[in-house]
């Protein structure tokens, strides 16, 4: 893998972005006349309405962690998928196919359970 090239272009884009930001700062000018109202965050025309602790639904956490679990299961399918034909040619086809079917059955059971237990329900 051309790691050197990837690192080079990453740094290049980073520098490019920084230059763009500074250019826009230079041509647009920084906020000279400021006031409390100007520096406020956006609110629909009224003074800022913010509770002390904004609560965000635990659903986001649940979604993210279920994503990780299913993502790992999908990642395990990648080497299996890329080697599937070679496994068939080498005669290990039925064994590998069966092992993945069992794995997929567990996967499907997990997904079915998540849907049935209403863990994926958004209201």
């Amino acid at each position: 893998m051309p790691l050197g090239g990837i690192i080079f272009i990453t740094l290049f884009i980073g520098v490019f972005g920084v230059i763009l930001i500074y250019l826009a700062r230079w041509t647009g000018g920084r906020a000279k006349r400021t006031s409390a109202a100007k520096m406020e965050i956006y609110e629909c025309g009224i003074p800022e309405q913010e509770k002390k602790d904004t609560k965000i639904s635990v659903k986001f956490y649940l979604t993210a962690i279920l994503f990780i679990l299913f993502d790992i299961e999908i990642i395990f399918m990648y080497p299996w998928a890329v080697g599937f034909r070679e496994f068939i040619h080498s005669g290990a086809g039925p064994f590998v196919f069966g092992s993945m079917i069992i794995f997929l059955a567990i996967f499907i059971f997990g997904l079915w359970w998540e849907i049935k237990s209403k863990a994926l329900e958004w209201d």
Partner: protein, 178 residues
């Protein structure tokens, strides 16, 4: 030569990102630094010729696990945490203790690492291996030799999913008040 420069550059970036995980006072910065560490580790895997593992490191750790961490940290109001991490005698003591544990880990890692290198040098067969199709050898290892571990992992992931759903349902902790 260029490979060596590349390795030392990546190692420096990874170690610096790792250090800033524990040195930053803002938990968000720490989490982002940890994500950077994961990206660095992935690049180090590439220098070892383990391309698929590097991609998995990027997808699973940098793209999934650390996104979860950052998301969860952003769910909370962090002002108290920043204060808690920047002053106080107890946290100071914890910091010193952590440094001690870290030093122990570093010493242990170096000792074990040198032993592992010696062992690897003893079995010279590893060095002669070509890395052209290591995804296939990974697949063989996973689906032929260690297939029971693979299936057990599926069950483990299922158990984690069930546990997560159960935990998010429980009405203890901060939810008990309302």
């Amino acid at each position: 030569m260029t490979d060596a420069i590349l390795f030392w550059f990546l190692a420096l970036v990874t170690v610096c990102a790792g250090l800033s995980v524990i040195l930053m006072s803002n938990p968000i910065y720490s989490a982002l630094s940890l994500a950077m560490t994961m990206v660095g580790v992935s690049a180090l895997f590439v220098t070892l010729g383990a391309y698929f593992i590097a991609g998995v490191q990027l997808i699973v750790y940098a793209g999934a696990v650390m996104v979860l961490f950052v998301m969860v940290l952003m769910l909370f109001d962090l002002k108290h945490e920043i204060q808690a991490f920047t002053r106080g005698k107890i946290t100071g003591a914890i910091k010193i203790a952590s440094v001690g544990i870290l030093a122990g880990l570093v010493v242990g890692a170096i000792t074990l690492g040198t032993k592992a290198i010696e062992a690897a040098k003893a079995t010279e067969a590893v060095a002669g291996k070509t890395y052209d199709n290591n995804t296939m050898s990974l697949a063989q290892n996973l689906f032929l030799q260690n297939v029971f571990g693979f299936e057990a992992l599926g069950v483990l992931l299922l158990v984690i999913a069930v546990g997560t759903v159960a935990l998010s349902r429980s009405r203890g902790g901060t939810h008990a008040r309302d």
